[in-house]
């Protein structure tokens, strides 16, 4: 894209104006909650805009204990990670199979892809009963299997694009060398679609991490509870102490934010590639 040379003032004003607007809308609420979390509850309600009279770092200590954030994080990480692994495995296997298959396989592929547009929130009742009948209710596996199923069509779509991009010559020469189906999959295809797998991993991880409805429906035990469900319970756990609740909210956001700052190149790259291929 053209650089900054000779950009007219009207453009600059317009561009920065727009950016400033979105910046304010994004940053101000976050700033407000951080400052609010350091006030006393009374002060928070009286004067939302001032800096804290006393810096109540004790709010954070209380919030951490009451909210049991460590447990929440561990659960979300476990559920998300396992679901990502499962999803990558199943989607890549299916994508490879379809790419090797004939018209029937193509048809099956198209049907499965259509699942992307199914609003999964409408499947509350059946999903609940499926997990119940499989004996998975109130275990992490209820979420892992459900999330894998929910993210599967999109994952399949993305991975398939990458699989098809593998040059035919490589596959043919492997076949001539005597490579079998599974071998080709494991040692040739998988390494070549690494960036595609990374893309899917990003999408699927985000899906799992932020999911709320099914986490609410399918689990209850506080040992299994994911972060999102935990956050929704803050208002009951911090009965009238808003400041501590703000602290809990801030703490619940920080890890993702930090992780993102550290990995942003990869995350955005993943989304970018997925968008281009998809």
């Amino acid at each position: 894209m053209t650089g900054l040379r000779r950009q007219p003032l009207s453009w600059k004003l317009f561009a920065y104006g727009v950016i400033a607007f979105f910046f304010v809308v994004t940053i101000v609420p976050l700033l407000w909650i951080i400052i609010g979390s350091l006030k006393t509850n009374n002060e928070l309600m009286r004067s939302p805009f001032t800096l804290p009279e006393q810096w109540m770092f004790s709010n954070y200590k209380k919030a951490y204990l009451v909210a049991q954030l460590d447990q929440l994080f561990v659960n979300s990480v476990i559920v998300s990670s396992l679901s990502v692994l499962l999803c990558l495995l199943i989607a890549s296997m299916a994508a490879y199979a379809v790419s090797q298959g004939g018209r029937l396989a193509q048809f099956v592929y198209t049907v499965m892809i259509s699942g992307i547009f199914l609003p999964v929130n409408s499947l509350m009742v059946p999903y609940f009963l499926i997990s119940a009948n499989l004996g998975l209710l109130n275990t992490r596996w209820a979420l892992i299997t459900t999330y894998t199923a929910v993210g599967f069509p999109l994952s399949l779509l993305l991975v398939y694009g990458f699989v098809r991009a593998v040059p035919k010559e490589i596959l043919e020469s492997a076949h001539i060398d005597g490579a079998g189906f599974v071998y080709t999959y494991g040692r040739i295809i998988l390494p070549l679609i690494r960036s595609g797998l990374a893309t899917v991993a990003v999408f699927q991880f985000l899906l799992c991490w932020n999911e709320f409805l099914y986490a609410l429906l399918l689990t209850s035990d506080h040992e299994i509870r994911t972060l999102q469900v935990g956050i929704s319970l803050f208002k009951s756990q911090f009965n009238a102490d808003f400041a501590a609740m703000f602290a809990a909210i801030v703490m619940s956001i920080i890890p993702m934010a930090v992780l993102f700052v550290l990995l942003q190149r990869h995350v955005i790259q993943g989304l970018t590639q997925g968008a281009v291929k998809g």
Binding site: V18, F181, I253
Partner: protein
């Protein structure tokens, strides 16, 4: 022999995917259809009631509101959220100072918990001590203060507003797409005297069409699933003004009205299908017209 083994391998590799699809997609939709003809509280056996649930749809005022809101949210997504994302994407793609930082900052809200954001905005909108009212007071617009989430006219717009400006997700997708556009196109048009606004209109926009098509589909299906925000911020109120389909289904479920809940769910699936078909048709037309 080899061909047979090959075919078996294909089948085996497809198997897990197919099993998942049947269990989590085909069976549930079938289940929805089946139970939509039943009255069922999930404890006692199902009772066949024919078209009664469907007739109830016609009389159910809450369903009408939920339907209206769900559709409105989708429209807001398509006609407000996406254009804003496109705008910011186009601006940042021009690599103004600090564009990489802005890209990260704008993407951040889409990353962190939607619930946390919702809770945050509940406090911003609060009628007694919320941030928004406080800001209005400071700029002298005290008359504009109100109980945003408890007011019939402002509740739903406020609900949408807390989400609509966080355009990071689609912005990144658009920026990715724009980055694949050949820079020489811009250079040559600049030589021809085209200003920045003209360049964007005639080069960037048309080339973004495929990405926009995908984004439109994604945002539509995404807004259909809305649950967290209405659940937490307003619980569908006031007077069901912010009710959405997912929440209505959930409420029926905890009222032991599983049969009717599934009928509503089936309607949601139908809306989803309808939207996909509509968008597909619209965008195919545009392509044919050489847009």
């Amino acid at each position: 022999m080899r061909s047979f083994r090959h075919k078996t391998s294909i089948l085996l590799f497809l198997l897990p995917a197919v099993v998942i699809f049947i269990v989590y997609y085909l069976y549930p939709v079938g289940f929805l259809v089946y139970t939509s003809f039943m009255k069922w509280d999930s404890i006692t056996p199902m009772e066949y009631v024919g078209w009664a649930n469907y007739r109830r749809l016609a009389e159910d005022g809450v369903f009408h509101l939920a339907l209206r809101n769900t559709l409105l949210w989708g429209l807001a997504g398509v006609f407000l959220h996406i254009p804003m994302a496109m705008l910011v994407a186009m601006i940042l793609s021009r690599k103004i100072a600090g564009w990489k930082w802005f890209r990260s900052i704008f993407f951040m809200p889409n990353l962190i918990s939607t619930l946390a954001l919702a809770m945050l905005w509940q406090f911003i909108y609060n009628g007694e001590f919320g941030l928004l009212n406080e800001v209005l007071r400071l700029v002298g617009l005290e008359s504009w203060q109100r109980n945003w989430l408890g007011n019939l006219d402002t509740a739903f717009p406020a609900l949408i507003a807390h989400w609509i400006f966080y355009i990071g997700y689609y912005m990144v997708i658009f920026m990715a797409h724009i980055s694949t556009i050949d820079p020489s196109l811009y250079e040559s048009s600049q030589i021809d005297g085209a200003g920045i606004f003209q360049q964007e209109r005639h080069i960037t926009l048309p080339l973004m069409k495929p990405a926009v098509a995908v984004a439109v589909l994604l945002v539509l299906t995404d807004t259909l699933k809305n649950f967290e925000a209405p659940f937490l911020l307003t619980n569908g109120g006031p007077a069901n003004q912010t009710m959405v389909m997912s929440l209505h289904i959930y409420n029926r479920m905890v009222s032991y009205q599983y049969g009717y809940a599934d009928t509503l769910a089936l309607m949601l699936v139908a809306i989803g299908a309808f939207m996909v078909i509509a968008v597909r048709m619209l965008f195919r037309e545009k392509e044919e017209r050489g847009g």
